[in-house]
């Protein structure tokens, strides 16, 4: 395990997951919005949105540990004209800031829907800019063959889509399960009125009840979204399981530096990394797809499968990122 690079492992994986999840949520909003009312979509998607905030903040804090002199931290945006690392920080902070703004507007229903959509699109663009910058930090280093490769694009965007989809799918199941399990006595009528403080309190307590038709539609949207997320995750995991051996064998055949770079891909650690990806995304994912067909009837099983799938794939991605850093062997002396 590349312990020295732990801050970068946590930061890149978590921030990519957040970007992927935000984009997937946007797709759910857009595609779901074609069939269901805004109320139905928001009831499912808004709680998931709020889970992203703490995750992204944790990722950004982890990245601070990569700086050996935090008193000079603000200098890191000075060289945006040529350094991808400066650009990464700018896009990262922009993504976090706009994401927070969007979450507040969305939950408190401030501003028109069009305005919120503009903020959401801007947030997503900053998010994609963040992942592109992260890729370019490594891809642009022509002195490190293991990083200056198409595989860096595949791995980073793969992580974003894979974890983004599974995080959203898992969050949806947990949101519905939590609502199903709450005692009837605590439930209140659904409103979107009152002071902002009251709306925020209502949102986090999540005690509102939906009318039967809305409730059924929210559940229906959950099933469709979870299935779409799982299918997406299976496709990305499959692509990674095909692409990585191609990348590693190509690197191994490229000379002394390439051979030194791939040393860690021949270890038990790598076997576990790819095993977790296969087990989490492919096996549990396919099972989750099946159990999602039962709607809210087998929610407990679906919840366990989705949480299990997410946790295994998340650990697998952290291990995969560790292998990525361990492949750092420079040309020259």
């Amino acid at each position: 395990m590349a312990v020295d690079e732990l801050p970068m492992i946590l930061f890149t994986v978590i921030s990519q997951m957040c970007v992927g999840a935000f984009v997937v949520l946007g797709l759910v909003q857009t595609v779901g919005g074609m069939k269901y009312s805004r109320r139905v979509v928001d009831r499912l998607a808004d709680p998931a949105l709020f889970a992203l905030g703490p995750a992204l903040v944790a990722g950004l804090i982890a990245s601070m540990f990569h700086m050996n002199d935090v008193t000079h931290t603000f200098n890191v945006i000075r060289h945006w004209q040529s350094s991808w690392l400066s650009r990464e920080i700018i896009f990262g902070v922009g993504f976090a800031g706009l994401g927070f703004l969007f979450a507040v507007l969305q939950v408190l229903k401030i501003g028109s829907e069009a305005l919120r959509r503009v903020v959401a699109v801007a947030t997503a663009l900053f998010g994609v800019g963040l992942v592109v910058s992260q890729v370019m930090i490594y891809y642009s280093l022509v002195t490190v063959p293991a990083w200056s490769s198409w595989a860096t694009w595949v791995q980073f965007f793969g992580t974003a889509l894979l974890l983004g989809a599974l995080a959203v799918g898992t969050a949806f199941v947990l949101v519905i399960a939590r609502r199903q399990n709450r005692p009837a006595s605590s439930q209140v009528e659904a409103t979107n009125e009152g002071s902002y403080g009251q709306r925020l309190k209502d949102f986090f307590a999540d005690r509102q009840v939906d009318d039967p038709q809305t409730g059924a539609q929210v559940a229906e949207l959950m099933v469709g979204s979870v299935r779409a997320c799982v299918v997406g995750a299976v496709l990305v995991a499959g692509a990674l399981l095909v692409a990585m051996p191609v990348y590693v064998s190509g690197l191994a055949g490229s000379g002394e530096v390439g051979l030194l770079s791939v040393a860690h891909y021949g270890t038990g650690f790598a076997v576990v990394r790819f095993g977790l990806l296969a087990l989490g995304a492919l096996l549990l994912g396919v099972m989750a797809f099946y159990f999602a067909g039962f709607g809210t009837k087998k929610l407990r099983v679906l919840g366990f499968l989705m949480v299990g799938s997410f946790v295994l794939v998340f650990i697998g991605e952290l291990m995969g990122r560790s292998l990525f850093y361990e492949a750092m062997v420079r040309v020259g002396v």
């Binding site: 002199d69 000079h72 200098n75 000075r78 991808w84 002195t143 420079r330 040309v331 002396v333």
Partner: protein, 202 residues
């Protein structure tokens, strides 16, 4: 633009340059602005029924080459990695955040992390010595007189313009201000059959 000249035919790998540099700049353990790389290889020369070993080994003393296109300056997020008007590259300690990105990028291992300061550090071609008319410490310390320094145009006029030899990287990446007089067994860049024998030391 200043640069270094290194004569592979004279170097016997004694590392006096490395130690003189370390001593002059008082660098801690693990921080070596100049390092001596041992490149080794060989094959069997088969002549009828007889197979004879045909081996080689040569040394390359390497510090910062104060490149024309310094990749460390390009990638540095803080602008701490700075090119002086004379072309030499140094670390502005008031800006460096210690992220070590330049360390990943430089194919000569010139930027080195100093854990005591939390910042990067590197060869500045003995800026203070040069201000008082002295040579860089490594140049004067070499007992074989294998090192020289000066304006790169003068070095090229005097010694030629070769610098593409294994195990050094492709010079087109950063365009180093470096001139090398090759060892008789020196292998051209991209055609190396040997390996770096002292990776742990450099």
């Amino acid at each position: 633009m200043y640069g270094f000249y290194f004569d592979q035919t004279l170097c016997n790998g004694c590392k006096a340059c490395q130690i003189a540099c370390k001593d002059k700049h008082d660098n801690p353990i693990g921080v070596n602005w100049r390092r001596v790389v041992e490149y080794t290889g060989g094959s069997w020369q088969v002549d009828g029924e007889t197979a004879r070993p045909n081996v080689f080994s040569y040394y390359t003393s390497m510090a910062c080459n104060h490149c024309e296109d310094p990749i460390c300056v390009t990638v540095c997020p803080t602008t701490a990695m700075t090119k002086r008007e004379d072309g030499t590259v140094y670390v502005d300690q008031s800006k460096c955040v210690g992220c070590r990105y330049c360390e990943w990028a430089c194919p000569y291992s010139a930027p080195q992390f100093n854990a005591q300061t939390g910042h990067m550090s590197k060869c500045d071609l003995c800026y203070d010595y040069r201000q008082t008319g002295q040579d860089p410490a490594c140049v004067d310390a070499c007992p074989a007189r294998a090192l020289d320094w000066g304006p790169i145009e003068e070095l090229r006029a005097k010694y030629g313009d070769q610098n593409a030899f294994e195990p050094l990287p492709d010079p087109s990446i950063t365009r180093p201000n470096l001139v090398i007089k090759p060892h008789r067994d020196a292998q051209p860049f991209g055609h190396g059959t040997g390996f770096i024998a002292n990776r742990q030391e450099i």
